[in-house]
Symmetry: C2
Subunit: 343 residues, 2 copies
């Protein structure tokens, strides 16, 4: 006799009927509470104190589901929070769309929901609406989570949101909030069962405190982004593409943890292309660069903030790296395969 | 020599780099245009002329991807539009999150994007932001699409949005906007390759014209819903659950197409539980029932609107069906398996 059969998700949990209602109530409403509990209908009704909003979406297919420093739940919350925060908005509401493979353990789903709830609390957002679909065994790999989010422009965000690419000028400074590549290498290690014998973990975190601190320190932030898939190089490449300016980065100033640098060398990765989930990269007027970097360093996850380069009038449309030995090379956006399902 | 190799999605299309940028521009920005093209950043910045919004999410995993009357693209747009519309809101913005299996034909993706674009135009919404993830072959079944949406309360919607469950009173009338079960049976037929030798197709459509017409006809709509997964019976069960009223439906008044009724009898389904994607069910004061039904019938997709039952003070918390032969039976929410991946 086997008395330890653990409950798993069945197709009936996704059919809209009574089992789905029970799952939603037992797992999601219990974990997320608040706004979701007050909005049992298909849409949440929300009061937004601002005419201007930021609206974004991100699906998460990361593998493994749990990794050093986070899990698919914290990643799903922070990924969308960060897409809103870098626009200068204050993230307020998320939705949560789950696609679950038949046979997925309910216990694992509960762990993920608890992680999402804790991450939402930490990021100051409410999960306002959700949806659950179940597909047959083999039709998905465990669980995929979409989060969409709304951010508002109030308080500091009201007048200081970045003006965007068109406001960038030669001479502007490029700043990163800390070491790059931590997330991607932590995921890779988790996936391959590699133990780096260090405390390397994903930097997965909400960046709202960083973006708000930067806007407090400067009324003229040009642009902010979270360099996730494709890494710092791809984000900078997106900034420069088709523009009348170039970007120059000093390799020696880009902060990279020793273990991340070592792993990249071993694995043939360039840390400039490795994903981050709790970092921002900013372009600010050079006059404000020191004060913005100092403001970022006062936030624990911004302690490693550094001015890593500048905007130039040369090599318009491209990103150039000044290497440690004094040479220059063009840094393209990520082209081929690298680490799939990093987020 | 094979010169006809069709382009397919690769893992590199999901890595955040240059191939993904090209795919997003060539397929999604080209199809969706407008708001998406103006918002190349991770979040769209939108002006919302209302303090109150509706916010919802829905993931779509339907199989087959193309079926009589629609496809996963039209379903993804209309599913989220309808969740907003039944709250009394005017749907305005959607996001689109794609999870695509490696090897998926680019041509099929383009067909789906074109369908989403046409459906968005027909529903009067803009696709404002998107996300694309690619998973390895076998880790998903073709394509899954999440849409999240925002609706506003302006114009008719401003003061006439349904007051919700707590406003429902014994004597109120229950109305459906037309025949039930069309979507579910059309999907089933498409999946099994069954040809009903009729013109049966999914009712997939935006219901905004219906909800706006209903609110124009009555300032006191109690509640509106789109009876999708779980069908009419489950939606009515959600209305009644835990409430101090019951709902009574006349079986002979519930409109069901002959081919849907025949297929249900053959397959052992109850049309009350079969999904709809372009219908609404409403509860309205009895004094307004005829005018609401008449207003719905003026909309082409509401031509079959019918008053199908009433709210009672009896059998609180449950839905009762008065059968064609004069008996009564309790109608529970959908319990077991039925048609998985119907939406």
């Amino acid at each position: 006799m086997n008395g330890s059969t653990k409950p798993v998700i069945t197709l009936a949990h996704g059919n809209g009927g009574s089992l789905m209602h029970k799952l939603v109530n037992d797992v999601f409403v219990r974990a997320f509470g608040g706004t979701l509990a007050a909005n049992p209908a298909d849409s949440a009704i929300l009061e937004i104190n601002a005419g201007r909003i930021a609206f974004t979406t991100d699906s998460h297919v990361v593998t493994p589901l749990f990794f050093p420093g986070g899990d698919i739940g914290s990643l799903a919350v922070n990924g969308t929070v960060n897409d809103l925060a870098v626009m200068g908005a204050r993230p307020v509401y998320l939705t949560c769309g789950m696609i679950i493979e038949e046979g997925f353990p309910v216990e694992t789903l509960e762990r993920i929901a608890a992680s999402m709830a804790a991450s939402a609390r930490a990021a100051g957002v409410s999960i306002a609406a959700g949806d659950t679909k179940v597909v047959e065994k083999g039709a998905a790999d465990g669980i995929f989570i979409n989060t969409s989010g709304i951010g508002v422009f109030d308080g500091e965000a009201m007048g200081r949101a970045p003006r965007g690419l068109s406001s960038i000028r030669p001479g502007d400074a490029v700043i990163t909030s800390g070491t790059i590549g931590d997330h991607g290498i932590a995921i890779y290690a988790g996936r391959e069962g590699i133990n780096f014998e260090t405390d390397l973990k994903s930097d997965c975190a909400p960046v709202t405190a960083l973006t708000m601190a930067a806007m407090s320190a400067s009324p003229n932030i040009r642009i902010m982004r979270d360099p996730t898939r494709g890494g710092l190089a791809t984000t900078l490449g997106e900034f420069a593409a088709g523009q009348s300016f170039g970007i120059e980065i000093d390799e020696t100033r880009v902060p990279v943890r020793d273990d991340v640098a070592g792993a990249c060398e071993l694995l043939g990765f360039d840390p400039l292309y490795v994903a981050n989930e709790g970092k921002i990269v900013l372009i600010v007027p050079s006059a404000d660069a020191d004060s913005v970097a100092a403001a970022l360093r006062k936030i624990p996850i911004g302690a490693g903030a550094a001015i890593i380069g500048r905007v130039t009038g040369d090599h318009a449309g491209t990103v150039s790296l000044r290497t440690a030995v004094g040479g220059h090379r063009i840094v393209d956006m990520l082209a081929g395969d690298m680490l799939p399902r990093i987020c």
